[in-house]
């Protein structure tokens, strides 16, 4: 397709044989300005006298018109026809066809190699007249190839004879104006139209005759007509090629009175008459471009609104000229004014927080060098001295040698997120500190409180040993009671320590055979009661934290033994799989726990019997509950308060890693 006059002219000149002695045709060309004409051929026939070139005839012909004419001649209009250039699948005429059958002929005309295909339609094929069609088609093709060259000249849009090359070129120039893709209008100093081209007729909707001799004002909307002679006068005072109405929106008027936006270029054309200059105006309809511009503007506005809403600032940095371009949001983010003046790299760098400047500039330099992608979080200092956290991302454009040219990027305000994160870290640290303090407290409680306690115990023992029989029975009993209280307190302190330690994240995960675990815990010698332990056969083997699991069974079993109210009893241990892991049950046939007390048993320091009756710290079940919950399980108690009770706890194995935030 011919996109500009220059290209078109070069095609025409290229199509001409060097010595203008041979008949030749150009390859098919298309005119953007007049697609209805279809492919054009420029046909050159040299005129020679006694073997010397004496000019030539140049004919610009339309393939469409010629073929229609040729087909009419041979009465073959009902056959779809496709013409291809040899070696090129895109048809220069007709449709690309994938018909099942076609007749084909080669057409060699003036060095141009064309393939003509005749393709019968489905209906024609179905009519059963195949031999007839074949015959007609072959005859048609032969006739077509015979007739075409003859009709071509006759149908030429422009066919001109030339006496010499100069004349040819001048005529070509004229032709170039005529066929130019823009409207071209030649006016004299008074604004009278002297010449218009094909596009002028098309764009403005006039026929040539209605324009020639008229004032150029006829092509202007009425509201501009008053001013126009003035502008024209200015132009003719200092003529020169230029765009008309720089900075103003120009409009033209069609014959039907409608207006459209235009761009007008003006060029002075000197004439042989001294002092007389004409002007050639090239008028381009820019309605489509205007529409795009408006769309673009709208989309830019939307983009700006969206970026503002998202708190995103956009920037571009021309590295070679060191010019920095910030959008409004960037200025807002950095608390700076466009009017501050600096629009170079330092506008950014000077706003960086002093502690982050080296790091941020390093990342930027690395990005420019291509060592890494620019993806940085840094602080900036606002004019009021406050700090803002920014996340920046950017990419670099480079030339063919890889040198960085420009950088484009975004900045985002992440202050809220950073402050939130810092708050979280602070809370987590605080929590860790408190936990550590608790651990220390428990350690101190267990060690430092126990030491004097043991001292008291020993002293009491020694008094009993040394005084022996000298003490009366009351004093001996008091000493005995004293030692039992000491023992109770020691147990409390031990349990307190265990409670503080249970469920710590550093418990190791190991393979645990729960049957062996339970069997090893049970020690019947700790009681005078005849307690039997019954362990289910299907106890699982799991990979889990052994320490808390062992602690749970130890406490539940020892509870069941200590609280048993009969001389004989059975403790039954069982397990069954659930979706998240296993549910274990420790069941006894002791006195049970009345429903009204069941809420309290898991609380700290709660016992249901006086401590002198059954020794207990009141921490055991609280410890069990904490151990179960430390792995994400739950514990429940089932008892009717008359006969036996059962503790059921779930033990997740699927997400054992569920830890608390520490």
């Amino acid at each position: 397709m011919v996109r500009s006059e220059d290209v078109k002219a070069s095609h025409v000149i290229k199509a001409l044989p060097q010595n203008l002695c041979q008949t030749a045709a150009s390859a098919p060309l298309k005119l953007m300005s007049d697609p209805q004409l279809g492919a054009l051929l420029i046909d050159v026939t040299p005129l020679s006298k006694a073997g010397r070139s004496d000019g030539c005839i140049v004919a610009v012909t339309s393939l469409n018109r010629e073929i229609d004419d040729a087909r009419a001649t041979i009465n073959a209009k009902q056959f779809p026809l496709t013409i291809l250039k040899a070696g090129d699948d895109r048809p220069v005429f007709g449709e690309a066809s994938n018909g099942v059958w076609h007749a084909e002929a080669e057409l060699q005309e003036a060095g141009l190699n064309l393939i003509v295909r005749l393709i019968p339609t489905q209906a024609q094929l179905a009519s059963g007249m195949l031999p007839t069609i074949v015959g007609i088609a072959l005859v048609a093709l032969v006739l077509l190839s015979l007739y075409w060259p003859k009709t071509a000249r006759k149908n030429a849009i422009v066919a001109l004879g030339y006496q010499n090359r100069l004349q040819l070129e001048s005529e070509l120039r004229h032709q170039a104006v005529e066929m130019a893709p823009h409207a071209m209008v030649l006016v004299d100093q008074n604004g009278v139209i002297e010449m218009v081209n094909l596009q002028t007729e098309k764009i403005f909707g006039y026929v040539r005759a209605d324009l020639l001799g008229q004032s150029i004002d006829i092509l202007l909307p009425e509201r501009f007509r008053d001013q126009h002679p003035h502008h024209r006068g200015v132009f003719f005072k200092t003529p020169g090629s230029r765009a008309m109405g720089r900075g103003r929106d120009l409009y033209a008027r069609r014959q039907d009175g409608t207006e459209f936006p235009v761009e007008v270029g003006l060029a002075p054309i000197p004439t042989p008459v001294v002092g007389v200059v004409k002007v050639l105006a090239s008028i381009v309809d820019i309605s489509e471009r205007k529409q795009y511009e408006e769309l673009l503007l709208k989309s830019n506005q939307r983009f700006a609104m969206a970026s503002k809403a998202a708190g995103l600032g956009f920037w571009g940095w021309n590295i070679t000229t060191n010019t920095l371009e910030w959008d409004d949001e960037m200025f807002r983010l950095y608390g700076r004014q466009r009017t501050d003046g600096d629009l170079s790299y330092t506008l950014w760098a000077n706003n960086l927080h002093p502690d982050d400047r080296v790091m941020s500039e390093q990342i930027l330099n690395d990005a420019v060098k291509g060592i890494r992608v620019f993806d940085a979080e840094f602080r900036i200092l606002l004019p009021d001295g406050s700090i803002r956290y920014i996340k920046g991302n950017a990419s670099v454009t480079r030339d063919a040698e890889g040198n960085a040219l420009e950088m484009f990027g975004i900045n985002m305000d992440i202050t809220k997120r950073i402050l939130h994160e810092q708050g979280l870290i602070k809370s987590a640290n605080e929590l860790a500190r408190i936990n550590e303090e608790l651990d220390n407290f428990a350690y101190v409680a267990s060690h430092d409180l126990k030491s004097p306690l043991r001292g008291i115990d020993q002293l009491a023992t020694w008094i009993a040993e040394d005084m022996g029989d000298a003490l009366n029975s009351d004093t001996q009993e008091h000493l005995q009671l004293m030692r039992s209280r000491i023992k109770r307190m020691e147990m409390l302190l031990d349990d307190l320590l265990a409670y503080s330690r249970v469920g710590r994240s550093d418990d190791a995960i190991v393979q645990v055979n729960t049957r062996d675990l339970v069997a090893n815990i049970f020690d019947p010698t700790t009681t005078r009661k005849a307690i039997h332990l019954s362990i289910a056969a299907d106890m699982p083997v799991l990979k889990t934290k052994k320490v808390p699991l062992e602690l749970i069974f130890r406490n539940l079993i020892s509870n069941a033994i200590r609280h048993h109210d009969k001389a004989q009893g059975t403790i039954t241990i069982s397990a069954h799989p659930i979706s998240t892991g296993f549910e274990f049950e420790v069941k006894d046939d002791g006195p049970g726990i009345p429903p009204e007390h069941q809420q309290r048993v898991f609380a700290m320091f709660q016992t249901l019997k006086p401590r002198d009756e059954i020794e207990g710290s009141g921490i055991g079940l609280a410890l069990v509950k904490k151990a179960v919950e430390s792995v994400g399980g739950t514990i429940t108690l089932k008892s009717n308060g008359q006969q036996g009770c059962a503790f059921c706890f779930t033990w997740p194995t699927t997400n054992n890693d569920k830890e608390k935030l520490v």
Binding site: Y443, S446, H447, D448, K450, S451, L453, R454, G455, D457, Q458, L459, T461, W462, R483, I486, K487, E490, D494, L497
Partner: protein, 146 residues
Amino acid sequence: MTAKEISYKEITILLVDDDDVDVMGVERALKKLKILNPIVRARDGIEGLALLRDSQAVKRPYLVLLDLNMPRMNGLEMLAELRKDAALSSAIVFILTTSKADEDKVKAYQQHVAGYIIKSQVGDGFLRVMEMLDHYWRVVELPIQN
């Protein structure tokens, strides 16, 4: 010298403990068992190290009964100092403490203690501990200490 003479060689016990009652307990137990070995007492790690470095104060051979929780320099800190000191690094040390914490046991054995003993289990005092120690130095060959 005969083997018999070596085994009867007097062994000094350095007891590092800040609790007077515990010290009394150890002394009481030794008396009960009729063990006459000399006892030297230090109240914390710093005092303990000073006494050990003075071969007149703690006659060789010796073994150390070391409490963990003490003022100024605790038992584990003193143990670390001992192992760093070429002259004292081979010392036989028993930890005698109220701490049942696993991390204390692990740390102590990492410093190659001969035993980690938890002070009662209120009841029999130090009787069993001292009995064990008496057997220990009768049976076990102690390192050459100077």
